[in-house]
């Protein structure tokens, strides 16, 4: 039982990281842009969030932690948006290939985060921002109500913010004019253009805001999930790709991202908790194989959706294509 609870307590925060990444990418892809720069963007967001919090803490005598958290969020969002802006400029204005631009952005984002990260680390292998305590503050009173309280209310505020954001995005896409216009662009930009919707502006905004949201995933990873520790690792990259996979898994619907991400979290931590739960121990090399499961599940989902061919579950029809009004 304890194992199961521990598993859930691990799976939900893990899921939250990729949920932010995936929600940002859903908005981006709804505009017809397939941004494979998600890992780089999450790096940018994670690093900017960490760096701003760390620098603020170390330069002020009595840092205000709420302000510090807000500062980190804003910085993470802006840095990630800058990544999205580079991608947008190249793919929308200059019509560069989306896949290749995305991959280059991943390299770039990783490079920027780790290069400047070294300056902050200043010789040590890892450093910690204390703002993680603010991020990890559980809901008072409710989280103390036994096991259900722990499972439902025992997380930092960004876990709940992610759920709220998923609902907001759902309403935005399905109940507002802007959402309708955005979906129209992803389906058929020529039509949206003829209807007087500014395709370029929507694509820019969706891609940049989407990148900002994805960047929050990186922020959450560093300042909450990883206890505010910045270290030079490749971990965020793998998370970024998992977020891209989650987008497919949700069939481009933000609400599905909620349970989909938790499922991914559960699968990811399978290797640690399942053996204990079943009461046997496994050698190290087997855990390596169990860690493969989320990726295999994604592949299976990918295959299954391609078999079902349901009209409403297909990717946005213009995904991956540049739009040029005067193309003949």
């Amino acid at each position: 039982m304890d194992t199961l609870i521990a598993w859930i307590l691990r799976a939900i925060p893990f899921g939250t990281i990729i949920m932010y990444g995936a929600m940002g990418e859903i908005i981006t892809e709804k505009s017809g842009n397939l941004n494979l720069g998600v890992p780089g963007i999450m790096y940018l967001g994670g690093f900017a969030g960490f760096a701003s919090a760390y620098l603020y803490e170390n330069s002020v005598a009595n840092p205000n932690m709420v302000f510090c958290a807000a500062l980190a969020i804003v910085c993470a969002f802006l840095a990630a948006m800058a990544g999205g802006l580079i991608y947008s400029f190249l793919t929308i204005s200059l019509r560069a290939n989306q896949n290749v631009t995305g991959l280059a952005l991943t390299t770039f984002g990783m490079g920027v985060a780790n290069f400047f990260g070294v300056y902050i680390l200043n010789g040590s292998t890892a450093s910690q921002s204390l703002v993680y305590k603010t991020f990890q503050t559980k809901i008072p009173v409710l989280s103390g109500l036994g096991v259900p309280g722990q499972i439902l209310f025992g997380y930092g505020f960004m876990v709940y913010a992610a759920i709220v954001l998923a609902i907001v995005l759902h309403v935005f896409l399905n109940r507002t004019r802007t959402g309708l216009n955005l979906r129209a662009i992803g389906e058929n930009p020529a039509t949206a253009d003829a209807d007087g919707i500014s395709v370029t502006r929507y694509k820019y905004l969706a891609t940049c805001l989407g990148a900002g949201i994805s960047g929050l995933g990186g922020l959450y990873y560093v300042l909450d999930y990883n206890q505010g520790i910045w270290a030079t690792t490749g971990q965020i990259e793998a998370l970024g790709w998992l977020a891209v996979a989650l987008v497919i898994f949700t069939t481009w619907k933000p609400l599905n991202a909620i349970w989909g991400s938790y499922l991914f979290g559960t699968l990811y931590w399978l290797y640690q908790f399942l053996p204990t739960l079943m009461g046997f121990s496994v050698p190290g090399y087997v855990t390596d194989l169990i860690q493969m499961v989320p990726y295999v599940v994604t592949i299976i989902v990918l295959v299954v959706t391609s078999l079902r061919k349901k009209r409403e579950n297909q990717p946005p029809a213009s995904l991956g294509l540049a739009y040029f009004r005067e193309e003949r």
Binding site: L34, L36, I86, F89, L90, S93, L94, R95, A96, N97, N99, V100, T101, L103, A104, L105, T106, T107, F108, G109, M110, G111, V112, N114, F115, G117, V118, T232, A238, W241, V244, A245, I248, G284, Y285, V286, D288, L289, Q291, M292, Y295, V296, T298, I299, L302, V303, S306, L307, P315, F324, E326, E327, R328
Partner: protein, 367 residues
């Protein structure tokens, strides 16, 4: 009256698709892009470190050219990157987004290493080499075949499928390395004592075979795509599957065959890396080259000779960045930034090759 005050303004500029462009113009645009990128990188270096960019570039140049040894090392790394680019060329020409090169290389490397671990010293060396080669080709081909088959059969999105296959491969490699190292902290070089399966030294370098293979393949792949019937089929399928079916080409067969070739060549890269360069394996054996090669193959528009040029540029940059890092006490992630910026500029420059910007001159009355 209010309406007429509204100023009538023409768009500042309009974009017109080009109808083809001369070779010279293409070259100039690309060279300008690279130069602009170097200037941007210089500004970046200056603002971050306060160093004189020209000095920095000089040091960078030394990264590849200061000694013949360094040059050979650069060539060695270029061989791996270029080989993966060559392996990707047929898949990309077919518009099959094989972003799974990293995993395919790893599987090839793993198969090679497995043969070395289990048969090293037990069979004659010649036989061992052949077994390593065959195993690597097979393993890479398998990793290309799986997504290829699903794409051909169910049109499963290959970009995401191959991407996921990378991580499956990484975990399998991690697992095997874990088994082979036993209680040791790391795997170390395989067959350290017997050197079984290590490539022989030619002119003092074990990786000389890698260079020879890549040189041959640059020409062979160019010819395969340009002159062979397979190459023609790949081009037709890439342009339009409808046309291919109309022409009587078995699209599924071509997709699967091409992915087997692409995967097998990635596997071969793994074989060359393990046998000729590392003599060991880790999850980092491909080291991200599988992703970088995608950019190389795309920018070169599947022309293997351009690929060689672009690979060289990227290797030069990363070697240079490493050199700066040690000379000025920076870190070599700078190479990712510099490479990323250069890629952005080259990607952006494609626009000026395909499109023309039409500037509007004001005052319409003058006609």
């Amino acid at each position: 009256m209010g309406e007429s005050k509204k100023t009538v303004r023409e768009p500042l500029f309009r974009i017109v698709k080009r109808d083809g462009i001369s070779m010279t113009a293409k070259v100039i645009i690309r060279v300008v892009a690279v130069l602009l990128a170097l200037i941007a990188d210089a500004l970046f270096i200056y603002f971050v470190t306060g160093l004189n960019p020209l000095d920095v570039y000089k040091v960078m140049f030394q990264g590849t050219f200061s000694t013949s040894m360094r040059f050979m090392w650069a060539m060695r790394d270029l061989a791996s990157l270029l080989l993966i680019g060559i392996a990707l060329a047929p898949a990309f020409k077919m518009r099959f987004w094989n972003v799974g090169a990293e995993g395919q290389v790893l599987m090839g490397a793993l198969a090679t290493a497995a043969v070395m671990v289990y048969y090293g010293g037990k069979v004659p060396n010649a036989l061992l080499y052949i077994a390593m080669l065959v195993a690597s080709l097979f393993a890479g081909a398998l990793w290309g075949f799986i997504p290829g088959w699903f794409r051909a059969r169910f049109s499963t999105n290959e970009t995401l499928f191959t991407l996921m296959m990378n991580y499956v491969a990484i975990q399998i490699v991690a697992c095997c390395v874990n088994i082979w190292r036993g209680q040791a902290s790391g795997l170390g070089k395989l067959n350290m004592k017997t050197k079984a399966g290590w490539f022989p030294q030619i002119m003092g370098h074990r990786f000389m075979i890698n260079l020879i293979v890549v040189l041959v393949l640059v020409f062979a792949m160019y010819a395969y795509l340009r002159y062979s019937k397979h190459g023609y089929e790949i081009a037709v399928v890439g342009e339009s599957e409808n046309t291919a079916r109309y022409a009587g080409i078995n699209v599924g067969k071509v997709i699967i065959r091409t992915m087997i070739i692409s995967g097998a060549l990635c596997g071969l890269t793994g074989f060359l890396i393990v046998g000729g360069r590392d003599q060991t394996i880790s999850t980092n054996t491909a080291g991200g080259d599988g992703f970088t090669a995608i950019i190389v193959a795309w920018l070169a528009k599947f022309n293997t000779f351009y690929m060689a040029l672009i690979s060289f540029l990227l290797i030069f940059l990363s070697k240079g960045a490493a050199e700066i890092a040690s000379a000025y006490n920076l870190n070599d992630f700078a190479s990712d930034i510099i490479a990323g910026m250069i890629l952005f500029f080259i990607l952006g420059s494609e626009f000026f090759i395909n499109y023309r910007i039409h500037r509007k001159h004001s005052s319409k009355e003058v006609r």
